[in-house]
Symmetry: C2
Subunit: 185 residues, 2 copies
DNA sequence: CCAGGTTATGTCAGCGACTGACATAAGTCA
DNA sequence: TGACTTATGTCAGTCGCTGACATAACCTGG
């Protein structure tokens, strides 16, 4: 992962070959692919702990709380993590913005995992089956959109913006969707 | 595209090689890749017209209408299209459900395009800049989640379910998000 | 301490998606 | 008709990724 981050930062995603990365990490290419299923996964290898943080945050919410409040509170742990791992998260954001294959990977694996966590938590709080009732998944979809907006803005500011604030204001917009009319700014 | 659909249906996505497809279509592999940037794009080559249908539907809504109503009305053209192209849409749904690379492609290109159309339309109706105000993108994210749910259910039913009905009920859940509490079933 | 099994790694050869370079055929238009 | 553009084929190559097999490192029970 370290070798990957180094070379990706140096030469861009396409400029760094999996052979180069393996060599820099002092392993064979075969060994590299035994630990990471794809080249993209080298960039997101540390996201499992974030997923577990998220799950813990969701599980810690009180029983009777409104669903959006729970989700919102749990999402704030993301801000904390992003501040603790600035460089890596910025690299991920930059590469995802520049390379469709990277952003596709991020969405299909990392973000999809978060989404599933939110769906499961929302479904449980609402006491419904997420395969039948569409609301848990819609909540998760809206939430992930908010996360993406905040992250994009944060990445665009090179990490200078207040990620916590960006996330909060994006998430707060979700609850207002029912009332939106023209010029309801 | 036709050769691709045939072989994908016969042997699955991985079982059909781009060489096979080119041969069946009576062109060289090189020519195939001049018309389709990736193997996955063979499966989604006809989605541009759907995007334009969607855009037209969004543009046709009256000025003062609530945003969710506009989006909802425009999305109904999807149901029409899915009913007109049952076989192809079912094949796409089945392959996307089975192959992560296919579903990643669909999300990163097809669905991302739809999302951008929705964002643009919502931003215009609200009179805001979508790079600053998060609401257009959140509306789009929630809407696309609803579409995915409906499509997944429709695919799972092998096209037997009423897609129009599935879409309508999923979309109707969006407006209710502000009020969700435990057991608010 | 050692024999037998498990696990991590390396090597090699190969598949398949995709691309650049170059040649050729087909259509287009002055 | 001849120059010019455009679609196609061929060929060789890169790169992500995988299966097969061998070897070395590491247990673990006797």
């Amino acid at each position: 992962m370290e070798a990957g981050a180094t070379l990706f930062a140096e030469r861009g995603f396409d400029g760094a070959t999996t052979n180069d990365i393996a060599e820099l990490a002092d392993v064979s290419q075969r060994t590299l692919f035994r630990h990471f299923p794809t080249k993209e996964s080298l960039l997101y290898g540390d996201m499992d702990e974030l997923r577990l943080e998220l799950r813990a945050g969701l599980a810690a919410r009180p029983e009777g709380e409104p669903v959006l409040t729970s989700v919102r509170a749990a999402m704030l742990s993301l801000a904390d993590n992003f501040n603790r791992n600035r460089d890596r998260r910025l690299l991920q954001g930059r590469l995802a913005a520049a390379h469709p294959s990277v952003s596709a990977y991020s969405r299909a694996t990392v973000q999809a995992q978060w989404e599933r966590e939110i769906i499961a938590a929302a479904a449980e709080q609402l006491g419904v089956d997420p395969m039948v009732d569409p609301r848990p998944e819609i909540i998760a979809g809206a939430t992930m959109s908010a996360i993406r907006i905040a992250t994009r803005q944060w990445t665009a500011s090179s990490g200078a913006a207040d990620y916590l604030h960006l996330i909060v204001s994006a998430l707060d917009a979700i609850g207002t969707l029912g009332d939106l009319r023209v010029s309801a700014a």
